[in-house]
């Protein structure tokens, strides 16, 4: 019951946010230097006079601004993200074609970073002030300062160029003719480096958060009670501290998932991973604004969906939340 209400509230909010982003996109197109029709068509030369004239008519660029806005937002809400003259295809098709690769990459990176981050955070908090703690905290600090794309390049250099362990390029071996299980293994091999390097920064974030949260919960009275009862430290850590310490980490993870989608632009660029991030990078060079804005909208949508899922997970972990409201 409570969860159904929450989902409805969240969906309403999500719809409003999406609407606001569509409006933002509209104003961004108008903020770009030059004629909006040319902006939408991509770099001059990509579209001929007729196309520009069609665009003008389609968006009603001769109409007052609010009519244009109404039309634009209407188009977006009916999932018409415009046409990419550069790629010669509707933007929505381009995005849908590449979305699965991005989802595989970001979700893998998300789980790797969350599981490794929590595990390391717990390990560090269990040995506060000792060598293990300093080592983990120090490494996290280093990852925290490392640019995503540079970590990716260095990983290619070491594990792909020097050691030859893993492929550093693409989504699968082109022309290998693999099918079924072999193909899955092949994709998995291609996935390891991009997912690890994308997750590195976030792993550091979750590790720091878990460590701080574990130490804070460990000070609370119910933990003292558990200790006084004579429970084993490992049981206290797992059943009493970790459960409570995870709450802020889950919240943060939900918020950070959005940054993961942004970071995918960098990772996909380095690894030639055929997702929407790579699509955005290619569109930047071609100044294909329609596609850029489409990817932007879809990545915002992914963030919204991530946040709704987090909200629900949060309520499942801690039933106390939502009771008051």
């Amino acid at each position: 019951m409570a969860i159904a209400g929450t989902i409805f509230g969240r969906l309403l909010k999500a719809a409003l946010t999406l609407l606001a982003i569509a409006v933002l996109n509209f104003f961004l197109i108008h903020a770009a230097p030059g004629d909006p029709a040319v902006v939408l068509a991509g770099e001059a030369g990509a579209a001929d006079e007729q196309m520009i004239a069609d665009l003008r008519a389609q968006f009603g660029l001769d109409q007052p601004l609010y009519v244009q806005l109404y039309r634009y937002v209407g188009n977006i809400l009916t999932l018409d993200l415009g046409y990419s003259f550069r790629q010669g295809a509707p933007v929505l098709d381009l995005i849908l074609e590449r979305l699965p690769a991005t989802l595989i990459l970001t979700l893998t990176a998300f789980w790797i970073s969350l599981l490794a981050g929590v595990a390391l955070g717990v390990a560090a908090s269990a040995r506060v002030g000792k060598f293990t703690d300093s080592l983990i905290t120090g490494t996290a600090l280093l990852f925290y300062a490392t640019p995503l794309y540079w970590a990716a390049l260095m990983a290619v250099l070491v594990f792909s160029v020097q050691l030859g362990w893993l492929p550093g390029f693409g989504y699968e071996t082109v022309g290998s003719g693999y099918g079924g299980f072999d193909r899955a293994i092949d994709i998995l091999k291609h996935l390891i480096l991009p997912a690890l390097t994308l997750g590195l920064f976030f792993m550091a974030v979750y590790m720091r958060m878990t460590r701080a949260s574990m130490l804070e919960v460990a000070q609370q009275d119910f933990v003292k009670t558990a200790r006084a009862k004579g429970l084993a430290p490992s049981v206290i850590r797992r059943r009493h501290i970790l459960r409570n310490a995870l709450l802020p980490v889950v919240t943060l993870a939900g918020l950070q998932a959005g940054q993961l989608v942004g970071g995918a632009v960098l990772t996909e660029t380095v690894f030639a991973w055929p997702g929407i991030g790579r699509l955005m990078f290619e569109s930047l060079a071609a100044r294909d604004y329609n596609t850029i804005l489409g990817v932007f909208l879809v990545s915002a949508l992914m963030v919204i969906i991530f946040n709704i899922i987090t909200d629900i997970v949060y309520r499942l972990i801690d039933p106390r939340i939502g009771q008051k409201a």
Binding site: A20, A32, Y144, P147, L157, L266
Partner: protein
């Protein structure tokens, strides 16, 4: 204990400060060390590092001095990091302060607005903004500020809310001081320390953002930056590792230094807060 001696007890923070000061000095001296600028072609392309006299880090794909590029790049990183953080503070602090001080519907609107910007994937928005405004130092700085202010607004709002409930603020109200006076003279000065800590970490994040944008080719075309160096060398990583390696090290060192300073400031300015996280 004075602020400095509390800061100095954190040895990592002191090292961070030394590194940052070194980077600042190098950035300032760039035109003295390399009067020809970072774009001048000085030798054959693809010279390996540590091989040629006067070119300790080798040359890039066009025969430019990698070290010169690195040192000029420090100027952009520091400048963009600093200016965009100041701009983000100029948006976030007033918004958060007004929201926290007045509460009610003002707070509601301000926080919905902030939340909206927090929902949008930060880096994707920065890319879109720079791409549409045309890449330049100004558009990059503005874009980074636009994606960085929401956490400031939230922090300031929370701080202002807690300070506004204190008794001396009631006293100021009874003394008939205006709202503006109370907010700027009595409330905001007491929220400065967490803002300073956050700002030092924001400079670090801004440097990472700037380098990521330049890496994607969204840097100012007239200015040498670390991200541009790495981006330009991306396709030749197999044959010329040093072109992307050294600028990356420069970024990591600078960002790490700023993060360490931020932690040191946090320890020094909020001593009662940090102890529970340590030992």
């Amino acid at each position: 204990m004075s602020l400095w001696s509390r800061f100095a007890t954190n040895r990592a923070a002191v090292i961070g400060l030394i590194v940052l000061i070194a980077v600042i000095i190098i950035a300032l001296l760039a035109p003295v060390m390399f009067p020809k600028g970072p774009w001048a072609m000085v030798q054959r392309p693809f010279l390996a590092p540590f091989d040629t006299d006067g070119l300790p880090l080798g040359t890039d794909t066009l025969g430019r001095n990698v070290l010169a590029g690195l040192i000029y790049g420090a100027r952009v990183s520091l400048l963009v990091g600093l200016v965009s953080t100041v701009m983000a503070l100029l948006i976030g602090v007033p918004l958060g302060a007004v929201a926290g001080f007045y509460g009610g519907w003002v707070d509601e609107i301000a926080m919905r607005f902030t939340e909206f910007f927090q929902t949008i994937p930060n880096f994707a928005l920065a890319i879109v903004l720079v791409a549409i405004l045309e890449p330049s130092l100004t558009s990059i700085t503005i874009s980074i500020a636009i994606v960085s202010w929401p956490p400031v607004a939230r922090l300031v709002r929370a701080e202002v809310m807690s300070v506004t409930r204190r008794e001396y603020v009631d006293a100021a109200r009874l003394a008939g001081l205006s709202n503006l006076h109370i907010l700027t003279r009595q409330v905001l000065p007491n929220t400065v320390s967490p803002i300073i800590v956050m700002a030092s970490l924001m400079v670090a994040t801004a440097i990472l953002l700037e380098s990521s944008l330049s890496f994607l080719g969204l840097g100012d075309p007239n200015i040498m930056s670390w991200g541009y160096q790495i981006g330009a060398a991306r396709t030749v990583i197999r044959s010329a590792w040093w072109l992307s390696f050294f600028p990356g090290v420069a970024i990591v060192l600078t960002v790490l230094a700023l993060n360490l300073i931020g932690e040191g400031l946090n320890d020094a300015l909020n001593p009662h807060l940090t102890r529970k996280g340590k030992s």
